[in-house]
């Protein structure tokens, strides 16, 4: 019976089905494990775009210490990173570079828009050289408002992102 089914013609279909079954069986526990791993080791790219970077620096200072939430601020290569924290204003000169940085990062990648400037242009809404928010160039996961956001706000934004990753379907 089984031998008849597994002909060279439908072997592919069979293997595919088997894969689906396997995926369904293992998806739930494995996906959770994968998400758990991603959640607690977010590596931000070191790209500073404007003055919000001051508060980003303060967030990794001893008082706020984002590292305990799994936001590891290490000066690695962007090929190892999975988080872009857009720290403020994106000017027209910086926008192509930011997109370039984003494109070079491996999947999965997450984006936090930090500060009023990154969200809507903020104080510089009418300036000639500033983009009105980064939605036009990057898909944003979490918006962190403020000018600049306090480190606590940034930490909360990161925790929201972790919550989001937890509920995401692992790919």
């Amino acid at each position: 019976m089984l031998k008849e089914l597994v002909t060279p013609q439908n072997a592919n279909v069979f293997v595919g089905k088997l894969g689906d079954i396997l995926y369904k069986a293992v998806d739930q526990p494995l996906g959770m494990a994968i998400n758990w791993g991603r959640m607690w080791s977010l590596w931000p790219v070191h790209i500073e775009t404007a003055c919000c970077s001051v508060e980003f620096g303060a967030a990794s200072s001893p008082r706020y210490d984002v590292e305990r939430f799994g936001i590891i601020e290490a000066f690695g290569s962007l090929r190892q990173c999975d988080l872009v924290v857009v720290q403020g204003t994106i000017t027209r000169k910086m926008a192509p570079r930011l997109r370039l940085v984003y494109d070079q990062m491996p999947e999965p990648k997450y984006v936090i828009a930090m500060g009023a400037c990154a969200i809507t242009g903020g104080l510089y809404f009418d300036s000639y050289n500033v983009l009105p928010g980064i939605d036009g160039i990057l898909p944003v996961d979490v918006y962190v408002p403020g000018c600049p956001p306090r480190p606590e706000t940034l930490i909360q934004g990161c925790m929201l992102l972790q919550e989001k990753i937890k509920r995401m379907k692992a790919r």
Partner: protein, 262 residues
């Protein structure tokens, strides 16, 4: 019945109103008197303190009075705008008595060397300004560098004057070497013709660079070039500095370039 009642009430209201009016008037009068007192006190204390220069506006006077000078001001402003070009006789006459001497001495040095080409913009305490014709800027800068202790440029400001069809460039010179001059900032100003359709680098908006005399103007001049389109001849790299590489619009600090919604 109802009509009469209404009448009565309306009369009462009238009385009340008139009473209120009287009370209100009294309050207003008292308030006015108090305000005048306060204004007098404020004036007295102010005059004791010896305010610097401007004491013309009295605090808390009636507002309609202010609106009149507003209308007059633009009329006055037009002749003043041309002042940098033609030597302002009225201004110097009034200020000549109180001109600070030290500042006057070195400005006189410059103006006596280049009579006709150099006009004194203003002489204030620690701040002086000379307006130079575009053709003479190199010679004047060389003279200042050789004979006065000004050794570096602090900033270069470009200003657009669309009504005059000119662009002003102001060099702020300072001195580190001579302690007697350390407070002084000499503004060396000049003007270049402005074109309606700018083509930065290829039109008449050109100025010789002061980079050979004051090396520190290098980046400032590059900034003025991109922001106002003033091309500096003999500057080694007239490249963009701050604006994006693909900027193809007007130079942004010209007055006819407008920000969104402004």
């Amino acid at each position: 019945m109802s009509k009469s009642e209404k009448k009565v009430t309306s009369k009462d209201e009238d009385k009340k109103k008139s009473d209120e009016k009287a009370i209100g008037d009294a309050i207003i009068a008292a308030a006015n008197a108090r305000r005048e007192e306060l204004a007098k006190e404020a004036l007295a204390t102010r005059s004791n303190k010896t305010l610097p220069k401007v004491v013309k506006e009295k605090p808390k006077e009636e507002k309609p009075k202010e609106s009149k000078p507003k209308e007059e001001k633009p009329k006055e402003s037009k002749p003043k705008e041309e002042k940098p070009k033609a030597a302002p006789p009225s201004k110097t006459d009034t200020e000549e008595e109180s001109l600070p001497e030290f500042e006057k001495s070195f400005v006189d040095k410059i103006s006596s060397q280049f009579t006709g080409d150099v006009e004194v913009g203003y002489i204030k305490e620690n701040r002086t300004r000379v307006n130079v014709k575009k053709e003479k800027i190199l010679e004047v800068a060389q003279f200042i560098k050789d004979n006065l202790p000004f050794d570096h440029a602090e900033s270069v400001t470009g200003v657009d004057f669309p009504e005059d069809k000119e662009i002003g460039v102001v060099y702020h010179l300072g001195s580190y070497t001579d302690p007697t001059y350390s407070k002084q900032v000499l503004a060396l100003a000049t003007r270049v013709p402005r074109e309606e359709n700018p083509n930065p680098g290829n039109d008449s908006t050109k100025l010789p660079s002061l980079r050979d005399m004051f090396y520190s103007v290098e980046f400032h001049e590059r900034e003025v070039f991109e922001m106002l389109g003033v091309y500096f001849e003999s500057h080694p790299d007239n490249r963009r500095l701050l604006l994006p590489e693909d900027w193809a619009d007007l130079p942004p600090l010209r007055k006819d370039f407008r920000n969104k919604g402004r």
